[in-house]
């Protein structure tokens, strides 16, 4: 039973355009959400997070939106760059902002390809 779902295995966008990666969750106890990026032969790298008390968090080119009623979050990358090409994982945990230190439940990931 997958509690965190990333339904798009892959996404291809042109350099300079917006990339939108989506994630759905089923466990209503999740209250802290994170996005990680993974290049081949490297471990996942933390990108951005959001607590359930917020509906938006921005960090430079990256913005995460949370819709609690729909149990849906999305990651927007604007503008997309070729170096953004990687696998993006959505992850969730329980326990609020302190819960980022607890068990993370991951989706299967979305391969983003940004074409020059």
């Amino acid at each position: 039973d997958q509690q965190v779902k990333q339904n798009s295995p892959s996404l291809s966008v042109q350099e300079g355009r917006i990339s939108i990666l989506n994630c759905d969750y089923t466990n209503s106890m999740f209250d802290y959400f994170l996005w990680y990026k993974k290049y081949p032969a490297e471990g996942p790298t933390f990108l951005i997070s959001i607590s359930s008390i917020k509906d938006k968090n921005e960090d430079g080119r990256f913005t995460v939106f949370l819709n609690k009623s729909a149990k849906h979050l999305s990651l927007h990358i604007v503008p997309s760059q070729p170096g953004d090409s990687a696998v993006y994982f959505c992850a969730a945990s329980e326990g609020g902002s302190g819960g980022s230190n607890y068990k993370l439940t991951f989706g299967k990931g979305t391969l983003l390809t940004v074409n020059p």
Binding site: A41, G43, S49, S100, N101, K103, L104
Partner: protein, 111 residues
């Protein structure tokens, strides 16, 4: 400042053998979590260690065990290896109430 380091990077074992994987956390971090990533899947939580105790455990059999040392480094042990244990094993470290940072992982192949 060194990040999370894992050793070895690659390992080949045969069914029934035992394996030990090692992790050194990022400087200043006191919590270590272990994840298993099978091909085409997201990382799955195995367990987490804090203050040398197992704090949380995922849905993995008792063949998977771990340890945390006083210097916060950690080991993951897997006994009686099965073909299905072939995966990338990731270690993540964190401070209390902070983000988990991952190492590059150990690729385990069971033949």
């Amino acid at each position: 400042d060194a990040g999370v380091t894992q050793s070895p990077t690659h390992l080949i074992k045969t069914r029934g053998q035992q394996v030990t994987l090692r992790c050194s956390p990022k400087s200043g971090h006191d919590t270590v979590s272990w994840y298993q990533q099978a091909l085409g899947q997201g990382p799955q939580f195995i367990f987490q260690y804090y203050e040398e105790e197992e704090r949380q455990r995922g849905n993995f059999p008792d063949r998977f065990s771990g340890h945390q040392f006083p210097n916060y480094s950690s080991e993951l042990n897997v006994n009686a290896l099965l073909l299905g244990d072939s995966a990338l094993y990731l270690c993540a470290s964190s401070q209390t109430q902070n983000i988990q940072y991952f190492g590059a992982g150990t690729r385990l192949s069971v033949l």
